[in-house]
């Protein structure tokens, strides 16, 4: 059982996350409509000052704030539940929450005030207000303290169970945070040694290439930081929610260890088109990116096989048709299975992005946000929505206001995303740039104009879906009942962790050790990044002055 303090902590993180998501989807609607030819920015000018101001809000709120806060709340909750003990330090946990929230507020002031219209990638020499950089840095420092607390909690559990395998959900949560903590060294270095002193005026110049190398050191593994918590749910909760078992516990551990080892030394595949990095290093990162496809395929197999056990237990037959027997009436399951379906396409698109030469066709085109909305915008976001359909009722002690509304919301997200993402992918293949105010661009092409309305339609469906989601959650809190219901449902409960067909007893001890895997991860990082980072650190002149160009 999680004690009440962990529940309150998770609720606090969820509130911040969902407020950010709300802001993120409202600004998202404006951008989708702009692409469809409906420019709503002039009437909104005092609040949202430009397309790019809105785009900065959309990116930062969705992929930096919503994800990070949700993950911190969710995985601390999951770890405590899986280990059956409270967090090692509640005071540290709450101090961390307030540090992160304080950092968020500090970053939000310039962001909302149009003083940090630099998008969520904040590439210098475009220069935001210093509070934006310091605020985001505090959020990152907060995530390190979450790692510390999870590691300490894990150690308490280990001292009481010296021989047992760490419960899978807790192991996965810790892997996620440890991977992220190593990965975030890049962005921390960019902030502390480059952007913060430069934005404060302590140093005169900066450098675009070194900043991008440090950013993407973190910027690719951050997608695994978003995705792995969804995997935690897909592996350890959804199989049971679907009436089945996890297929293989050891294989799940293998895939997470591979994510720990391989997530980081692959960031150059975001910089294939950057001058100043040798082609050979780019090729190595392309190789390693393909290697990450291996644990992704293991996950695909294991999760689908687990779903199949559930569907067959519910009477499913056939090679494919068992799929129809999944509990589609449960919005939490429906959300996450639909998220997996679209993620398959996101994964395939990701291989295109990583493909060295094919990347030349899609880099910085609308294909990329098309891809990103399948991965973080659906695999992650729709899964997190599915998780909140049990988590919010549990934390509030009130039943979900409407399962039907939740189901409608989930399907609307799926349909809206199919329309929206497909349109962006196609536009990207036609050479339409991403992150551009296309509706008023000087070079809009006739072939784009046939597809651009679909961006607006898909975006509008997604917006309606998101509003139904928030409506359902708010009504759950203010208008729903707690305790047992007339239809015979008990008080809102948690899904139990899934048992496994092949359980932790089949996992060799090496899968529960940290040092060899951490050492391997660091060696790969040193090989893939070391020479380039050393060269850039030694030779970069830091002579680009900052500019405010919005």
């Amino acid at each position: 059982m999680t004690p009440a303090s962990e529940n309150r902590l998770t609720a606090a993180y969820l509130i911040v996350a969902l407020i950010a998501l709300f802001g993120g989807v409202v600004t998202g609607l404006l951008q989708a409509l702009e692409h469809a030819g409906l420019n709503l920015y002039p009437p909104l000018t005092p609040v949202v000052q430009s397309y790019y101001h809105s785009l900065s809000l959309h990116g930062v709120l969705n992929v930096l704030v919503f994800t990070t806060f949700f993950i911190c709340g969710f995985l601390q909750f999951i770890t405590s539940r899986a280990l059956g003990i409270p967090l090692a330090s509640r005071r540290l946990a709450w101090a961390t929450f307030w540090l992160m929230t304080g950092g968020l507020v500090l970053a939000a002031v310039p962001l909302v005030g149009n003083a940090a219209t630099v998008l969520f990638t904040f590439y210098p020499p475009m220069r935001a207000h210093w509070a934006f950089y310091i605020g985001l840095t505090l959020v990152v420092v907060g995530t390190w303290l979450v790692t510390l607390n999870l590691a300490l909690t894990s150690r308490v559990w280990r001292s009481r169970h010296p021989e047992a395998r760490t419960p899978l959900a807790a192991f996965m949560s810790l892997v996620t945070f440890v991977m992220w903590t190593i990965a975030s060294a890049g962005i921390a270095a960019e902030m502390l040694f480059m952007l913060i002193p430069w934005s404060l005026g302590l140093v005169a110049g900066t450098d675009a290439l070194l900043a991008r190398v440090l950013f993407w050191f973190t910027g690719h593994p951050i997608v695994y930081f978003w995705l792995l918590p969804a995997y935690v749910s897909w592996y350890t909760l959804v199989p049971r929610q679907a009436g089945g078992r996890l297929f293989s516990d050891p294989l799940a551990r293998v895939s997470f260890i591979l994510f720990l080892v391989l997530s980081i030394p692959i960031g150059f595949h975001h910089q294939f088109t950057d001058p100043g990095i040798e082609e050979g290093w780019k090729l190595l990162h392309a190789f390693l990116t393909f290697a990450v496809f291996f644990p992704s395929l293991l996950t695909f197999f294991n999760v689908v096989a687990s779903l199949e056990t559930g569907a067959r237990a519910r009477g499913g037959k056939g090679w494919i048709t068992w799929f129809a027997k999944l509990p589609w009436g449960d919005p939490s399951v429906a959300a996450q299975v639909l998220a997996m379906l679209l993620f398959a396409f996101g994964g395939i698109g990701g291989l295109v992005n990583a493909s060295f030469n094919l990347n030349l066709v899609v880099h910085n085109t609308a294909w990329i946000p098309g891809h990103l909305h399948l991965t973080v915008g659906t695999a992650v976001t729709l899964s997190f929505m599915g998780i909140t359909y049990w988590l919010v009722p549990f934390l509030s002690g009130r039943h979900l206001w409407s399962r039907r509304l939740a189901l409608a919301q989930v399907w609307l997200w799926f349909v809206g995303m199919v329309v929206f993402s497909n349109a962006l992918h196609r536009l990207g293949l036609m050479g339409m740039p991403r992150r551009t105010m296309i509706g008023v661009s000087a070079y809009i092409q006739a072939e784009w104009q046939a597809i651009l309305p679909l961006v607006g339609i898909g975006g509008s469906i997604l917006f309606v879906s998101a509003m139904l989601y928030f409506l359902n959650l708010v009504l759950t809190l203010v208008a729903s009942r707690g305790g047992p219901t007339a239809e015979g449902r008990g008080a809102p409960a948690l899904p139990e962790f899934a048992e496994a067909l092949s359980g932790p007893e089949h996992a060799p001890a090496i899968l529960d050790r940290w040092r060899p895997w951490l050492a391997l991860a660091l060696v790969l990082i040193a090989i893939a990044y070391g020479p380039t980072l050393v060269r850039l650190a030694a030779t970069t002149p830091f002579n680009a002055p900052g500019l405010r160009v919005w």
């Binding site: 297929f247 293989s248 950057d274 001058p275 293991l298 991403r434 000087a442 092409q445 089949h506 002579n543």
Partner: protein, 162 residues
């Protein structure tokens, strides 16, 4: 134990193709990339971003004929334009674009050919493309570079040979 063995066999049956698929795709990638001679931008040297206008070859932006059918287009990107923003070459030309940025990060994406490169202040970008069909090839800045980013574009005009 029996159940564990069955699961193990299924795992193995999946792991082997899971290795084979990425390896196979990598081989396909290498063949198509290097077989077709596709190259990514690499290290081409630095330029002081505050002194671009005084540094060769960016002090004289424009198209230079290197040899029959071979041209070099020297370009500078700045908020929110390319200099020059129109490149004229005859059909069948091979053009090497040598480009840098004076201020913030920009990008260069030319429609219809494989030119897609970031333009970073401080770095020289060098990419090559062949223009066979006569016509207009629009190029755009594809990296957000400020409030009028969407107005930053130009075109390669490929003229029919007489």
């Amino acid at each position: 134990m029996k159940r564990g063995t069955t699961v193990y066999l299924y795992e193995l049956a999946w792991i082997l193709p899971s290795v084979a698929i990425p390896v196979g795709m990598l081989v396909a990638l290498l063949v198509t990339a290097f077989g077709a001679g596709v190259h990514l931008p690499g290290r081409e040297g630095r330029v002081d971003p505050t002194r671009v206008a005084a540094t060769a070859p960016f002090d004289l932006p424009g198209v230079v004929a290197l040899a029959p059918g071979r041209y070099e287009a020297r370009m500078v990107a700045q908020t929110w334009s390319f200099t020059p923003n129109e490149i004229r070459v005859p059909a069948g030309s091979t053009v090497t674009f040598v480009v840098t940025s004076k201020d913030v990060v920009h990008g260069l994406l030319i429609h219809g050919v494989n030119v897609n490169v970031m333009l970073l202040p401080g770095q020289i970008a060098r990419v090559t493309a062949r223009f066979d069909r006569p016509g207009e090839y629009p190029f755009v800045c594809h990296e957000y570079c400020g409030i009028a980013h969407h107005t930053m574009w130009g075109k390669v005009v490929v003229e029919a040979r007489r």
